[in-house]
Symmetry: C2
Subunit: 505 residues, 2 copies
């Protein structure tokens, strides 16, 4: 559990105790959400919704309590006496920022957003299934309206989208994202046109792959990446995610289908999120600093383990024989090189979550652009499917046959999560910045991966990133890890080299 | 979800909303406890302990808030305008009683009791394993001391034990328990001496019984008793229990060992608890009335399904062929009558939870007597093992070879649960009172059980008992179901008839 300086003032102890209780309520919410998704009998839904709303409201109320503000006000001189890098100084600094932000949002608006998301979810799911955008439209209108009211709670921003982005990537500005995304898009569109292949014979990737063997392999890769089974579980869900009850209790979820091997990469992806949460310094346990620092930094770790490690030649030199042995009928006669090419195939598709490493980013950039245009009114919601379809074809060269695989494919907007999408690609970009740094520190990584050794990389990431938790801003954190701000060049370079090499042969 | 009268005053709505939130927090606690026991990775323990303590404290704080008292004070005339049996009147009446009681306990004492129980649990578990009472003694002293301080928070009781009993069996007095237990003991001691058998050849009850088949049979019996899988789960724990997140989400737990068939009866027992919680009227959902009314009434339902239904001839006429088919190697050659006798064998043993239907009560009466003598100081804690052993031999005719199977066997005292034990036997007594009433209303039950039909009994219990939840006191509830107060005679009669018939042949 977390500790504080022995001479910490009484007010600091009180602040910390209050924050610990709020954190407990937030984690209880996370466990109840995990339970709802993974374990709950179907009948439990309505009451569970109420329990989650209550935990959210109680935690929010306790946090925006003016007493927290008074405690923070009184701790200025203690904060100044502390090292900027200390846990205590970070706690005061970060809490002040969180509190100033949270108290601007009226409890009623916060509750209405939670309620609207709950109402919209099933409508969206049905509309997606039935390719019925008009039914979903009123809920989307409400979600967007609520977001506009949410934006109105704040002031001093350069553009409204900054407010939304800040919820997932604190301190990041829309203009910065625009710059790196323009650079990325300019590089990707021609690169994808050059390396995309639609005629490959990857029939063996359709299986069958026995579910039991997929589960065993998923657990094996997670443990090889360094996760001790004392500290995590792996269960089944429709939409995989990672959740945390504490640094020593991480819940990973995944899904299996007999006719593909996506589950191995899903396991790596959620493992990356989980290792980040697991690696936060235990001195930060039960504080609001005890989690990953932002969505993009989090995604950088899921993508680093999934793509940079998990789709690399050295990894498969080590792991392919195990996978081949697990599915002898399907992969027994398939050369490792054919498998490696299949899992790195660039091929435009409709669905973001099925997209390859390269085209994935164009899916994200599309949503980032549309979200801004929805917020500023350039596009009306009724015209959204048309805007989606025409721009998708422009970026990826593929016409959209139905809204089910177009504008309705993702859950985010039904839940009011505008501003989230860009962090997926920011995560990709950051993942390579961090990877380059790790490689410089550990020049032997490729050989280690070939030997099935991932401990040095895990240890380096833990020390340099995971342990920090939320002590610093995302920008400070990235600067500490890589020595500079976000930069698309390493990622573009990485994709060009990897995909160019594959296309050249 | 619960509803209230359309003309309910604003204060009533506010009271109800506050109570709903507190109930949500309590249920979240229950789900987190279930998760801790059934699902949590081992590393999660310390943080989970803190989360549970926080949820407990926040719920307690919100409940003892003077605002709740003010709301209750202002609702007197609304209450008077209501039918005594209405949900709203019951909510006000019951909440007033709960609030008057809860506010007497200082938050510090409540927290110390939670902490002491957490500290003592592992010490007790180790002491039991190592037959080491002296190590556990200081924790027991602390638990008893806290209980004395807890008793001091109250006044106006006839004897101190009343206060403890009231936590599990509200309104029940020690003297009433003494009277029914004396009657029960006086009947049981000679009956057990008469029917006990120690030389039966029940070797087939030692298995092997394949775990998978035990699990399938457990699920089958639970579903036959009327539990729709939409509304429950069955998982594994060391100590079986039933928990509830809401009436439509019940969590049953059990355990399996290859060398006995106890799991079938454990499933019936926890199913009985679960059906009670599941059957509470949905108009009471998310109110403090949404649960079984007391420990004894709850136990009456677990024992009714486990013993009265589940150890009856009609049930086994229906179910034995299925059990036999599930374990052909072990039970293929065993006559149903031999199996029926084996599961109803009366045979004194050391361990309460392994005890048969009859001797079980003497285990409970022993603890009830010792608890009172500990509270009033007649027995010193250091002399407790000796007192336990001599009285056990007196009641059950068996000398105790070690504290592991004697005074250290149960978890309750480590958790400070003094006053709980008597409710086990009160439950047995009540179970037969209710059963006689159900039989009068449904004279065809035996034939129905033989046909594998349990719906009429389930429906009758649901209408007459389960649906009421906690709307009335336990005494009022029992009176509504059976038309009178607790009475040991039906139970004694039931045991005499059943066990006498078995011994006579």
């Amino acid at each position: 559990m977390s500790e504080h300086r022995n001479d910490a003032p009484k007010d600091f102890i009180e602040l910390k105790n209050r924050l610990a209780e709020i954190h407990d309520l937030r984690r209880a919410q996370e466990v109840l959400f995990w339970d709802q998704t993974v374990m709950m009998p179907p009948g439990g839904g309505p009451v569970r919704g109420a329990q989650l709303t209550t935990l959210d409201r109680v935690a929010h109320e306790r946090f925006i309590d003016p007493a927290i503000g008074r405690l923070l006000d009184g701790l200025g001189s203690y904060e100044e006496s502390l090292d900027y890098d200390s846990d205590d100084a970070s706690l005061i600094r970060t809490t002040r920022r969180d509190w100033e932000k949270a108290r601007r949002v009226p409890a009623d608006l916060a509750a209405e957003m939670v309620g609207a998301a709950a109402d919209a979810h099933d409508v969206w799911a049905k509309a997606r299934e039935e390719n019925d955008y008009p039914t979903f439209l009123p809920h989307l209108e409400r979600a967007l309206d609520l977001k506009r009211r949410y934006i109105d709670c704040f002031e001093g921003y350069a553009e409204p989208y900054d407010v939304l982005l800040d919820d997932y990537e604190p301190g990041m500005k829309t203009e910065e994202v625009r710059v790196v995304f323009e650079e990325l898009k300019a590089a990707l569109v021609p690169l994808i046109a050059e390396v995309a292949s639609t005629d490959a014979d990857d029939g063996f990737m359709k299986g069958p792959f026995a579910i039991d063997a997929q589960h065993a392999l998923s657990l094996r890769v997670i443990e090889e990446f360094g996760f001790d089974p004392q500290f995590f579980r792996l269960d089944l869900t429709v939409h995989p995610f990672a959740a945390s009850s504490g640094t020593q209790d991480i819940r990973l979820t995944t899904r299996y289908t007999e006719n593909d091997l996506t589950s191995i990469f899903t396991a790596m992806h959620e493992c990356g999120h989980g290792l980040y949460e697991h690696g936060v310094s235990q001195t930060l346990e039960r504080t609001p600093l005890c989690c990953g620092v932002s969505s993009a930094l989090h995604e950088s770790q899921s993508r680093l383990w999934e793509n940079i490690v998990g789709r690399s030649r050295p990894f498969w030199n080590h792991f392919y024989p195990q996978v081949q042995a697990a599915f002898p009928d399907t992969l027994g006669d398939i050369e490792q090189e054919a498998f490696y090419r299949a899992i790195n195939r660039v091929k435009p598709t409709y669905i973001r979550v099925d997209a390859d490493e390269a085209t994935y980013n164009l899916h994200v950039i599309l949503r980032f652009e549309l979200e801004q245009e929805l917020i500023d009114g350039t596009i009306a919601l009724k015209d959204l499917p048309e805007a989606w379809n025409s721009r998708f074809e422009q970026y990826l060269g593929v016409p959209i046959p139905s809204d089910t695989v177009g504008v309705l494919q993702d859950v985010h907007w039904s839940g009011g999560s505008f501003g989230y999408f860009p962090t997926y690609s920011l995560g990709n970009i950051v993942s390579v910045q961090i990877w380059e740094k790790a490689q410089t520190a550990l020049p032997d990584l490729a050989a280690q991966f070939e030997a099935g050794e991932f401990g040095d990389l895990h240890g380096w990431l833990r020390t340099n990133l995971y342990a920090l938790g939320r002590k610093f801003t995302p920008q400070e954190t990235l600067d500490r890890v890589v020595g500079g701000p976000i930069d698309a060049k390493p990622y573009v370079r990485y994709l060009r080299e990897k995909l160019g090499a594959l296309a050249a042969v």
